[in-house]
Symmetry: C2
């Protein structure tokens, strides 16, 4: 919070409009909701978020959040916007799908290794790790199938 | 593609405007870009996408894509919009962070199990699996740290 206030002070003291106000060609006031998170030296960050969500939607979302959470919200929006511009079809959902497949594969490898270990040290080797399989009941599982994400649609774009 | 055309035909033949046109209170024409993907019986799907991205941005994105990719694009947008409305701070980036942490943990467990196996069957047990560690060099790694996602900010919201 302190850091955010400091950034805002720095921006205002420099008399430069924030990247959002510069992009939107409007006056950057002390109450500007974008200024602390879109410094003038990062024009692309705002341009991406504006292109995907629209300034008005981002402004509404930020105004509905306490100040302490706005920086994280902006960064996650910027991340999603960047992913959507790189991959207009799947955006960061493509990465979720890849991570899910990869996790499933590594989990299978771990299960196999533990079963093999059990041959040497007994059944204790296959006891489940705490929280193992926690995500397999989530609605996200199977997303790749629902979206029909092909195996070559992901890693190269991230 | 055939299925999409069939859905469009079904919607138009029923004379019901699609969920988007109903929401926006406009006439649903044969050229409506939303109609094949926002059937009238799924009003929430469009309402969510509209709230997060705005109809105009979605329309632009769809018009820039070939028809064969639009259904996947709409589904990934709907998924991201739903995640953003459930978790306005992190959206589906929160899930990416959780999956990355989980993958890192399972990978560590696998490495340990393989090292232990090596004590019994020799060094072949620790040979890397094909593609192992493929994602650790991606810019996504460390996202949780950049966003300071706390350990209790995720699973419950998805």
């Amino acid at each position: 919070m302190y850091a955010v206030v400091k950034v805002k002070e720095k921006i205002l003291s420099s008399n430069s409009p924030c990247a959002a106000c510069k992009f939107l060609r409007r006056k950057c006031t002390q109450e500007c909701v974008f200024a602390p998170y879109f410094p003038p030296d990062q024009p692309q960050k705002f341009a991406n978020v504006h292109k995907v969500y629209g300034a008005s939607n981002v402004s509404k979302l930020l105004n509905d959040l306490p100040a302490t959470q706005r920086e994280d919200a902006v960064n996650s929006l910027a991340y999603e916007a960047d992913a959507r511009l790189r991959d207009p079809v799947y955006g960061c959902v493509g990465l979720i799908s890849i991570l899910q497949r990869r996790l499933k594969q590594v989990q299978t490898d771990l299960d196999n290794a533990k079963r093999e270990l059990a041959n040497y040290i007994g059944p204790s080797a296959v006891l489940p790790i705490l929280h193992q399989g926690r995500f397999w009941g989530c609605p996200e599982l199977g997303l790749s199938e629902r979206l029909s994400i092909s195996s070559n649609s992901g890693p190269g774009t991230f």
